[in-house]
Every structure is written in structure tokens, then in C-alpha cells.
């Protein structure tokens, strides 16, 4: 098992380098470079000549493969470089200050989605074609189809303006520093309720459908029949025997959505003015801030590779058949 994990880990390194190599070249294909956004082409009092000096500073006057080599050399020393933006800050610092809020937001969102999607999926499957099944189907698909930004604006109008219960945007109150500890926590929470609600509503459909599907398959299995035949209560059959098996594919999907946790939700962060990873990435892309884009990419792709590995390993741990099969092959 350990050997297997190590081998997979070793294989991930060239894969990661390949990903960065392709990405580095692909982002250069977008029209315009970082320097084209430093000055507004419609302002005549900007001196375009200063661009030349910056070009050298950022090595942008060198051929792309040399730029890539230099970047890779820094990367192996875990130096992600500095942002091209005029603040010139290290990429890791920029990502570091944005990551906690996005992680927090997405983990809470994921937990809420799971807490809702699992029961919805189970109930829909066990009561297939019932009124409950049909209503939740409609509900989750409406959620899936509703544009995030539109729903966000509607909720802001309702809860922020008409009812005045919740703040509209941002993370903290203007006077946050002066609030008591518990008021601060409540303030932060109240700012997060709407963004999480919007993100959850959109993400509910996927998970609940997977859950329903997987449950439907499991309840048709013979061992469920056996369990029923043993005279177990319906609760025990579904809750103990069926649910555990039905959860397996959901766990896989959960693993694969790990990297998404740090990517951030662009629309939610944009609309609610939450300074997270999604905003950072969008701004970096718009201004062609290559070091920030690449930094983010390396982190997300390493995580994806790691999550894949983790999923594969945990499969073996969770499902004895896979473990046995692998040993058999060897």
C-alpha cells in the first residue's frame, strides 16, 4: 500500500511539470500581455515608454521558454515570484491572505450541501415518483438552472433592503473592530449567510441527484432483499445497509471536488464583494498577471493530483474488493 502510494506520488511530479508547461504557454496565447493593462490606452498623459523598463524587470523581453525555465527554477525552491501588479507583492502572500476565507466559505457550503443532499437523495430514492420526489426534483433543478448572480441580487434586495435583516455585501461591518467578541462572530456569520445560501442552492442538484441515483441502484441489490427478508426494520435496511453502500460514489465525487474548495466561486465572491481566491484569480486573468495565475494553477493542480491519489487510496481502504483485486493482480 505504502509502495503504491509512493509510486503514484513520484508519477505525479512529471505530470505536474507537464501541466505547468502547457499552462504557461497557453496563458500567453490570450491577446495582450501584462504590460498592455498597466496603462489606460485612452489616457494621453501616460508615457508608453516606461513599459520598456518594466519589460526588462519582469523578464518579459526574453523568449517564452527562457521565462518558463526561470519560473520553474524558482518554483522548485518554492518561490512563486512576485505579482506583476504595481503592488509587486509575493504571489504566495497574495494567495495566502485570500485562501482562508474562500476555504471557510466553500467548506461550510460543502457541508451544508451534504447535509441537505444526502437526506433529499435518500428520501427521493426510497419514495421514487412520490410527491416529495417530484417536488425536490423540480426544486433542485430550479436551483441548478438559476443564475447565481440573479438569485444573489434578489436575496440582497429581500433580506438586505426590504427586510433589513442581513448585510448586503462584504465580510465585516465597518465598525467591526469596535464590536465585542461575540458580536464580531455574529457579524461575520450574518455576512456569510446569503453567499452560502446562494452557493448551496446552486450546488444542491448535483449531489442530491447522485445520491438518489446511487441509492436507487443499491436498494435493488440482493443483499438489501436479504436484509429485508431477515425481518430488519425499514429504517435499519435503508439507514445501515443501503446508505453506506450508496455513499461510496458520493465520496468519490466529494474527493474530486476538493480542489474546487480553494478555487473559489467567482460569481458569488464577485457579487457579494468577498475578497477570496475567485476574485483574485479573475483579476489576475484580466490583467494577465502571469505569476499569480501560475501560482494559483500550481496549487490547484497539485491539490487535484493529491485528491485523486487520496481517492484511489481510500477506495482501497473503504472497499475490500478493490484491495483484494489489486493484490491479486500483482
Amino acid at each position: 500500500m505504502l509502495l503504491y502510494a509512493l509510486r503514484r506520488l513520484a508519477l505525479a511530479v512529471p505530470l505536474l511539470i507537464g501541466i505547468t508547461f502547457i499552462s504557461f504557454f497557453v496563458i500567453q496565447l490570450a491577446p495582450g500581455g501584462p504590460l498592455d493593462f498597466l496603462i489606460n490606452p485612452e489616457m494621453p498623459n501616460f508615457d508608453p515608454k516606461f513599459i520598456e523598463a518594466i519589460k526588462q524587470e519582469f523578464d518579459l523581453d526574453k523568449p517564452i521558454h527562457i521565462q518558463y525555465w526561470k519560473w520553474l527554477n524558482r518554483l522548485v525552491r518554492l518561490d512563486f515570484g512576485r505579482s506583476f501588479a504595481p503592488d509587486g507583492r509575493p504571489v504566495l502572500q497574495k494567495i495566502g491572505e485570500r485562501l482562508p476565507i474562500t476555504l471557510f466559505l466553500n467548506i461550510v457550503e460543502m457541508l451544508v450541501i451534504l447535509a441537505l443532499a444526502v437526506p433529499i437523495g435518500v428520501l427521493s430514492a426510497t419514495r421514487q415518483y412520490s410527491v416529495f420526489d417530484k417536488t425536490t426534483t423540480v426544486f433542485v433543478f430550479v436551483g441548478f438552472a438559476t443564475p447565481d448572480f440573479w438569485l444573489a441580487l434578489l436575496l440582497m434586495i429581500l433580506f438586505g433592503i426590504q427586510l433589513g435583516w442581513l448585510p448586503i455585501s462584504g465580510l465585516r461591518d465597518i465598525n467591526w473592530e469596535y464590536l465585542s467578541f461575540w458580536r464580531q462572530q455574529w457579524d461575520l456569520l450574518s455576512h456569510l449567510i446569503l453567499p452560502i445560501a446562494v452557493a448551496t442552492f446552486g450546488g444542491l442538484a448535483g449531489f442530491s441527484r447522485y445520491m438518489r441515483q446511487s441509492m436507487l441502484e443499491v436498494v435493488r441489490q440482493e443483499y438489501i432483499q436479504t436484509a429485508r427478508a431477515k425481518g430488519l426494520s425499514e429504517q435499519a435496511v435503508i439507514g445501515k445497509h443501503a446508505l453506506r453502500n450508496a455513499l461510496l460514489p458520493v465520496v468519490t465525487i466529494l474527493g474530486l471536488s476538493l480542489p474546487g474548495l480553494i478555487g473559489g466561486s467567482v460569481i458569488v465572491e464577485w457579487t457579494f464583494a468577498i475578497p477570496g481566491m475567485g476574485q483574485l484569480m479573475v483579476q489576475a486573468v484580466f490583467s494577465r498577471d502571469y505569476p499569480v495565475i501560475m501560482g494559483n494553477l500550481v496549487i490547484v493542480s497539485s491539490l487535484t493530483l493529491f485528491a485523486n491519489l487520496l481517492a484511489d487510496i481510500s477506495y482501497g481502504l473503504v472497499d475490500p474488493r478493490i484491495r483484494v483485486g489489486r493484490r491479486g493482480r500483482r
Binding site: 512576485r82 438586505g160 455585501s169 446552486g202 467567482v266 464583494a273 475578497p275
Partner: protein, 549 residues
Amino acid sequence: MRRAGGTLGLLPAILLALAGCGVEVEGKGDGVPSAASGPAYGDTFIEASIGDIQGLIPSITSDGASHAVGALIYDGLVKRDKDDNIVPHLAESWEISADCLTLTFKLRKDAKWHDGWLFTAADVRFTYETMIHPKTPTAYKEDFLQVKDVEVLDPFTVRVTYPTPYAKALDSWAFYMLPRHLLAGYVQGGNLREAPQNRQPIGNGPYRFVEWKPGEKVVLVANPDYFEGRPFLSRIVYRIIPSQATIFLELKAKGVDYANLTAIQFDRQTNYRAFRKAYHKYQYAGNAYTYFGFNLKDPRFADRRVRQAFAHAIDKQELIDGVVLGLGREATGPYKPGTWAYNPMVARYAYNPARAKALLAEAGWVDRNGDGVLDKDGQPFAFTILTNQGNEERKKIAEIVQQRLREVGVAVEIRTLEWASFIKDFVKKRRFEAIILGWGIGTDPDQYNIWHSSKTGPDELNHISYQNPEVDRLLDLGRASCRREERKKHYERLQEVLAEDQPLIFLYFRDALPVVALRVRGVEPSPNGIMHNFPKWYVPKELQRYTSG
């Protein structure tokens, strides 16, 4: 699990021309309520900004937000008052030699940096050295490269000399002064961007820096030692809210005290009682105009009669009404109505399709084959207008122009392009027939870079390849004098020539549409906008909303 992003209304942060000149300002609020005591210290003022700042040394940034914040932290030697005159600031007086070559500033003796250091002549010289240093990544070098020398005569006297008269000399010293004691090493090392000053600045202006939470907010507090007296508003918070729609909702919920409205918000969505009771709306000409330009290397557009015909075929008022709901002013040249260089007595082109057709016929464009499109030498008059994607305003202009030109027999296609590629691959490489684009205007009327025939190179700004010896001469004369009356003569003539020649069709100046919370008093609308006396804005004690801070 996450759906791919749908249509995002993400526009690159639009750079707002900040310092500038304006025309009359119309207040459109309910007026000032009666219960109000006099000026008082205190309260927090919250501004909404769609883009984060790029850094806190504004000399090396080029975005609107950084300059809005920077202008409150840093002062210059001179500033512009509400009537757009240059008045003393860190310099209490100045003298200009008769030949316009020397400029001697007497500095105030009571101006201090926020860390207590005295502001002296050495800082002025240091600012100059910083700006011209080859490793300083600034786009504002040009004014300082004209300087021959900056001499420190005594700690409070500086003499600036120029090799030739430079019209913008005095104006250029309104630029942010930088602290020598904090930055000297970074300028020499060429890593100014990495200086702590770029994160936690020590300025000399009316407000002190407190914190910058990237993507979230920038907080400033009043400087109690400010040489013009402590500003009334105690705390300024710039909230970064990327979505224009969210800013508008925050306004409705009274979560922000200052924001810029869009035309539709101004005209249609803010005319209800509750809004008028909370905010005062202001309207004045903005610092940029939109134009319809031609590639003058194209023989069809090189003919002045064709350009004049197009000017007659387009109804500018229709564009203003249709595109910005009437919230704009007709442009007759590159200067804003109401500014000192503006000349209203220039040739105007009333909407007159018959006249347009006659001019086109004079130029040889007649519909010979009866297909509804004019032709000459067997070629139909057809061309493509390019403009940038995501700018609804320009797209609408292009569509209206297309329709109006069709009526006089010219076939126009419209193509929208991604911003970066539009500028880089088409405008800069002169690969276009016609474009719809804009120009920002600065505080000084010098427009050498845009119109002079020496500026037609690939990276230069005379995009339309305009060449006119008289214009060249006027531009040279205009920037070579330091006396406003003399310069005014040249620029007035320049506008006459441009109006006659129509190298491009000046369309309109869009209005700036800011709103300010009604509890804030002391706002003085002027030709120079409303921000010119910001440190004097206040909230009467009984109306103050935020007590902490």
C-alpha cells in the same frame, strides 16, 4: 460540483480621470434639511470603489482607485481650486521668471509628514530624482524629464529650471511629493514597488493611512496636524465592491455614502422619495470624450469632404439621448465645455442628410448603379467600424451611426473586439478603417501626443495618422508658453482648425454622476467636480452615524 461561470458583467476596472476640469454642476436633490448645526469633527465616510487599489505610492500606479486614495494621503506643491485655478498648497508662493525658464517655490514651514518629519525642499528634489530615475516604474515621467535642474536654495526654497519654456511646468508640481527619509534607498535600488511605503504609506496630506485589506477595504483617518487644519470627517473607508449592481443595492440600503451612478440608475432608478432623502445627486461633464475616428491613410477618409459629410449625417444629440439618456454634452473639439481652453465659436455640423449627400457627391461618391450604396470608380462605399467588446455604450453608438450612414448611402459593418487585442493588434498597428474609441483629458490643454504629426509611430497616440502643418505649429506654440492668455489664443485656433477639418468626429463628453449622502455637508459643486474641498466636508453632530473611530 460548481457550474461554469455564465455571463459575467466583468468590465476591466474603468479608469476614472480624476483631477480635471468641469462645467456647471447641477444638484438634483431635495435640498438641505433645516435641522443642522455647524461643521463638526467626527463620523465615518464610506466610499464604494469597483476596483481595488494597486498600491499606495500613486506615482507608480495608473488606476483610478489608487489615485483617489493617494490624493488624500499625499499633497503636491500646488493644487487646483474649485474654479480650476492653480493655487498654493505645500508651496505658499512661487515666482516664474519672465522667460518662463525658472520656477521658484517658497515652501510652507509647518507641513509635516505623518511620522512627524518636516516636509522640506530636500523632499521636492527627491521627488524629482525619483520620477526621472530610470528604474522608477512610472508612467508620469514626461513632465519631469523636461526639467533641467531642481536646486535646493534653503530648506524651504526650491528652484526648478527648464531648458525651454514648458507650459505644464507649474501644473506638474501638483504631483504627489514623496518622503526622502523613507524611500531614498528603494529608489536607488530600483525596487520602489517593494518599499513598505507602497503598503503602509507615510504621507503629508489631510488623511493618514490606517489599513489596506486587499480586495476588501482601505481605511484612512483624519490627520490632526494637517497644515490646513484637521479635516472634519474622522475616518474614510473605501469599500471594494466589484459589482456595480451590488454597489447600487448598498446605496439603497444606505451602506455607502459615496458612489458613481450609471446613466440608467441616475435617470430611472433613483427618483423615489427615500433615495432623495438619503442622497444628493451631482452631475457634471466627465473628463473623457467618445469619438468616431477614421484611418486617414485610407484615401476615402483622407478627403475632408467625406469626413464633413459624415459629421452632417450623424445627429450627436440623438446619440447622447439614445446612448447615455441625455446625460452627456456634445463635443465640438477635444476640450471640455466650460474649461479655459474651450472655444465655443467653431464650425458645427447640424444634422443634415441632404448636405451630407451633397458633400459626398462633391467628393465623387454617387450611387451610379442604383443599389442604394454610393460608389466611385466602380467601388461601393463600404467600411467596417471597430470597437471594443463589452462596452454597450460604444456598441450602441456604432449601431446608430451605421443606420444614419446607411441613410446617406454608405454601407457600414460593425465588429467588436476584445479590448487588449483591439488596442494592440488593430489600433496600434493602424489596421482599421474606422473606430469608436475615447480620449481622456488631463488638467492641461496640451494635446501634442494625440494630434502632432510626429506622433504617428506604431506605439504613439496619433492613431488616425493625422497630419496638418498648422495644427503642428499651434501645438508647438501652445506648449512653449507659460502664460495662459497666450496659450488660450493658440488652443482656440487649434479647435477651429480641428472643427473645420474633422480629422475625427467628436461625439460627446459623458457626465460624471456621483451621489453623496445627504447628511454630509460642505460639498461645493464646481467646474472642477466636487472632490476639490473634501477635507472641508462635514456631518453635523446630530446627524453623525458612526460614533466609533
